[in-house]
Assembly symmetry: C2
Homo-oligomer: 226 residues x 2
Amino acid sequence: MKALVLFSGGLDSTTCLALAVKEHGRENVMALSVYYGQKHDKEIAAARAVARHYGVKWQTLDLAAIFAGSDCTLLKGSEEDIPRESYADQLAKTDGKPVSTYVPFRNGLFLASAASIALSNGCGLIYYGAHSDDAAGNAYPDCSDKFNNAMNEAIYTGSGEQLSIKAPFVGLTKADVVKLGHGLGVPFELTWSCYEGGDAPCGVCGTCRDRAAAFEKNGLKDPLVG
Amino acid sequence: MKALVLFSGGLDSTTCLALAVKEHGRENVMALSVYYGQKHDKEIAAARAVARHYGVKWQTLDLAAIFAGSDCTLLKGSEEDIPRESYADQLAKTDGKPVSTYVPFRNGLFLASAASIALSNGCGLIYYGAHSDDAAGNAYPDCSDKFNNAMNEAIYTGSGEQLSIKAPFVGLTKADVVKLGHGLGVPFELTWSCYEGGDAPCGVCGTCRDRAAAFEKNGLKDPLVG
């Protein structure tokens, strides 16, 4: 069985790639990284390095044009700063709406693109590193269980039952993923999670805070943090 | 309410555009046409002409790279001919699999792209011209009711309940859509349905057969057929 890994170069999807390689062998795994117009290209650079580490076929896809009208603070088109608060603090100000780093229906678009590419390349599985902390309350509605289940169903049905999503971390926390990745020997030093594009992680954006907490819960040191 | 119409330049999506313009006014409607690597560009040319006819904002999106590995017979990458049989005859040979003109998860990808673009442009609705004949048996699994329902749910949930799909023809046949379009004054002479890129429709591909039957059931003449 050939598998495609939806792969950002972050901690979760790198652990997911490690698992896919373990389960299917690197010759049967392809990794897909999507550029969507981020302010920096650290994620794509990290993805390249990790894909090289595992020796898998790596494909990039540029979907930045799709978000040309968006005011999401992660994107080049936005002049607003990326928030430096926890998701809980951000959500307290959004009146139930997604946070300013929500990229419109990004995960739906990524999964749909992954489905088309997987089917075009004879893959029967999409590995997807979603975990139970991803939705961050309802900061990211395209990370909720309800969304994941609907998208699973759409892809399985819409492919004529040729393709399924495998989301092995869906019942795990980010701390659990770090633990699993640690056990699999994941090269965390090659990954990139921070929303900013600095030389080192900023330490204060939502994703830096979550990553730090996940390492700390395991009593592990993040190799990216000096 | 602003609306985005997923718009191929064919008969169904043109009727859908006509309805969206009637319901929201042309200044609140944008039409999105996706190029996915077809062997010809007749559809995009038709879409341009129809969008101009209605005076709506028209956007194109090139997703051909996504299908680079596909052997779908509609695509430039395929040297196989497009079948000249009815869908029923094609399905009799595929052993329950999608037909050779199935573009891998195309409608899922189109709807996901439409969702991201709609949200990026402040639209609360995606108009989608799916009808009850679209699945053609199970020739196109990404046209089934089950798929449509799952994708609806994914988009509504994954957008934080900011965006819905409106599929006004889902309980109608293609003949019903022709009747409705006729009543709305749709310029059928500007639309293009045929899978081939000739000067006139080939008359023998699956979609030409379906279009001819839909006009005939209404006692109408297709202006494209001499």
